[in-house]
């Protein structure tokens, strides 16, 4: 009895394989689903029904997957776009926004207005001259300045998170003016709104 069951199961498996191949959209997960169905419903009639269901299921999943892939591609494209407004820079011990910084923030704001499903985290950073505690505060101010500017351009508060890392996470570990200039920054991380 048990052996028969396995044989039927195998046949179903083979059938569904061929069906899916004909359908031209074979997916591992769909096949797995069929095996389970076959084991529970071993009768011939039910097997046919299962096959139909499985096919429908596989097609549905494939469509979903394709959509997800498209979304992912779009997201990646958007993220790549966002790369052009990833950082703004500051003078030593300052948190006021330079004209270049405002320009970049303007682009970020336009982008966020266009893609309302995205949020942003603003990380405030400093170079490592001066005190750890003061630099944590300065990083907080730098992040806050960018947040206020974005808010003025119409980005909702809820879509902006700020955090200061002070001098703790330099972009460039060098100890010279070029490295310090890179490190005095706000870093923007955009990401799709969590559902």
């Amino acid at each position: 009895m048990k052996r028969n069951l396995i044989i039927v199961g195998l046949m179903v498996l083979i059938c569904s394989f061929s069906l899916i191949f004909v359908g031209g959209c074979a997916k591992d997960q769909a096949v797995m689903g069929d095996v389970e169905l076959a084991q529970i419903q071993p009768s011939a009639e039910e097997t046919a029904q299962a096959q139909a269901q499985a096919q429908a299921q596989a097609e549905k999943e494939a469509a979903l997957r394709e959509q997800a892939l498209k979304e992912k591609a779009l997201e990646e494209k958007l993220m790549a776009e966002a790369d052009s407004f990833k950082n703004i820079h500051f003078s030593f011990d300052k948190y006021d926004l330079s004209p270049e910084a405002r320009d970049i923030l303007g682009k970020l704001a336009d982008w966020m207005l266009k893609y309302s499903d995205f949020e942003v985290t603003i990380e405030g950073h400093c170079d490592n001259r001066g005190t750890i505690a003061y630099n944590l505060a300065l990083g907080e101010r730098r992040a806050g300045a960018a947040k206020a500017y974005l808010a003025n351009l119409g980005i909702a508060d809820a879509r902006i998170t700020t955090i200061s890392y002070g001098e703790e996470l330099p972009a460039d570990p060098g100890q010279n003016e070029a490295a310090w200039a890179k490190n005095r920054r706000d870093h923007f991380i955009v990401f799709p709104k969590k559902q």
Binding site: T131, I132, A133, E140, T162, S164, E168
Partner: protein
């Protein structure tokens, strides 16, 4: 942490302690003209069975030499200069030819002897003034062999009391943040650089340790839950509690001397302001209310005043206010960036870091703004000073040699000493010096 291990260590004053009796004044270590005490420490004599722990002869001399050297107040005379025929040389005043020692420039001499009966180690130490040829301090200790370092540190303290009028800080530790890649953890290490201990293991950014006044707890900030929240941990029990987790910064600073309050910097209302956190009630008391950055508050030892950093006048400078947040006055005017204030234990001076020719160096200043002293000058600079509990030393971090390490200097800026490296730690930051911990 606060274990008193002296219970098993029986010690007894068995010799005449002449410094107390005749009140001879040795050199004031704080005077600008202070010269280190030249001291010779020949090998200790085995007073017991020959062959029993003979290697201790050299060990005691080395350990005591090292401990005294670390204080920064002693010049240890090289063994190569010794004239005395050491084999069979005696250890009491009558047996010593003091001209052998004064003749090589050693104003002081430590002689010692030990005996081991298979269970207990007995050690006697004598400190002599070789010019006057007399005993200054003498002690005998009994204990288990593994307590031998404690015995040496006890006698090193006796030497410091006799010659400088105060004990050493051998029973203190320094806490700091040790950095590797993008995470840092809190560590502690003994004053002499021994016994490093990793206190946290969050694999996150963990910063700004501060000892509680009784040495049983350490406050710090950690990003382990995403936001820079403030924690207190008890290193002995491992028990850790989160005491502040407002959105934004939660930075702990100094503790009140009774250990019941802690100064915090919070940015929950948009501006970084200074608060007192009452640890018993959990109540928050706001002290500053300014649009500027206010950070790094430090209580005066009597608890009446608080030094802090603010950029309210444009650049970061040190200010002093009373403990209610009133009567704010500016302390520092030299230089465009002064930060990290720390009050000396006697309440008269404040150490801080300030920029000088584009580098940060350690300074100290009278609490009324007088008598400004620059204490470090090296290219690697200095940051985040913290006083030893006796006020004789400062610990700070410095990038001398490229990497950020922890340095100790005498409070007059002399005798810099770097603390040893620790495996897995690339840079060392924000040291905090404990009070006396009664470690031995």
């Amino acid at each position: 942490m606060m274990r008193k291990t002296t219970s098993f260590l029986i010690f007894l004053l068995i010799f005449w302690w002449s410094s107390a009796a005749c009140g001879k004044v040795y050199i004031d270590i704080n005077s600008p003209g202070f010269q280190k005490f030249p001291v010779a420490i020949p090998e200790f004599k085995n007073l017991g069975k020959a062959g029993a722990e003979d290697n201790l002869s050299a060990w005691f001399a080395d350990q005591l030499s090292r401990s005294l050297k670390i204080t920064g107040f002693f010049n240890i005379i090289s063994k190569d200069a010794f004239l005395e025929n050491q084999a069979g040389a005696g250890i009491t005043a009558g047996e010593i030819d003091f001209s052998d020692w004064s003749g090589i420039g050693s104003d002081f001499l430590v002689k010692g002897g030990f005996s081991y009966d298979g269970k207990k180690l007995a050690v006697e130490f004598r400190l002599f003034d070789t010019i006057e040829g007399k005993l200054i301090a003498g002690k005998k200790y009994w204990g288990k062999p593994e307590e031998k370092k404690a015995m040496v540190l006890k006698f090193a303290d006796e030497i410091l009391i006799a010659l400088t009028g105060g004990t050493g800080v051998f029973d203190t530790k320094i806490a700091f943040a040790g950095r590797k890649d993008n995470s840092s953890e809190i560590y502690t290490i003994n004053f002499d650089g021994s016994d490093p201990v990793k206190i946290t293991a969050y694999n996150s950014l963990t910063l700004l340790p501060h000892w509680s006044p009784d040495g049983s707890e350490i406050s710090f900030t950690s990003y382990k839950d995403g936001n820079p929240d403030c924690y207190i941990t008890n290193p002995a029990s491992g028990k850790t509690k989160k005491i502040s987790s407002f959105r934004g910064l939660n930075l702990p600073s100094s503790w009140s001397s009774d250990g019941r309050k802690i100064l915090l910097v919070l940015s929950k209302d948009g501006n970084e302001n200074i608060y007192i956190k009452h640890l018993d009630s959990g109540k928050l008391q706001r002290l500053t209310n300014d649009r500027a950055i206010d950070v790094s508050p430090a209580w005066s030892p009597d608890g009446r005043k608080i030094a802090f950093v603010s950029n309210r006048s444009g650049s970061p400078q040190i200010f002093i206010m009373d403990s209610e947040g009133k009567n704010i006055r500016r302390l520092t005017f030299e230089g465009s960036y002064n930060s990290s204030p720390c009050w000396s234990p006697d309440g008269t001076r404040i150490a801080y870091e300030g920029s000088s020719n584009g580098r940060f160096q350690i300074f100290s200043i009278g609490e009324n703004g007088d008598n400004l002293l620059q204490l470090t000058f090296k290219a690697g600079g200095g940051e985040s000073p913290s006083w030893s509990p006796d006020g004789r030393y400062l610990v700070f971090s410095s990038k001398r040699g490229g990497r950020e390490r922890i340095y100790v200097i005498n409070s007059n800026g002399l005798n810099p000493r770097v603390l040893p490296g620790i495996r897995g730690v690339k840079s060392f930051k924000s040291p905090s010096w404990s009070q006396h911990l009664n470690l031995y």
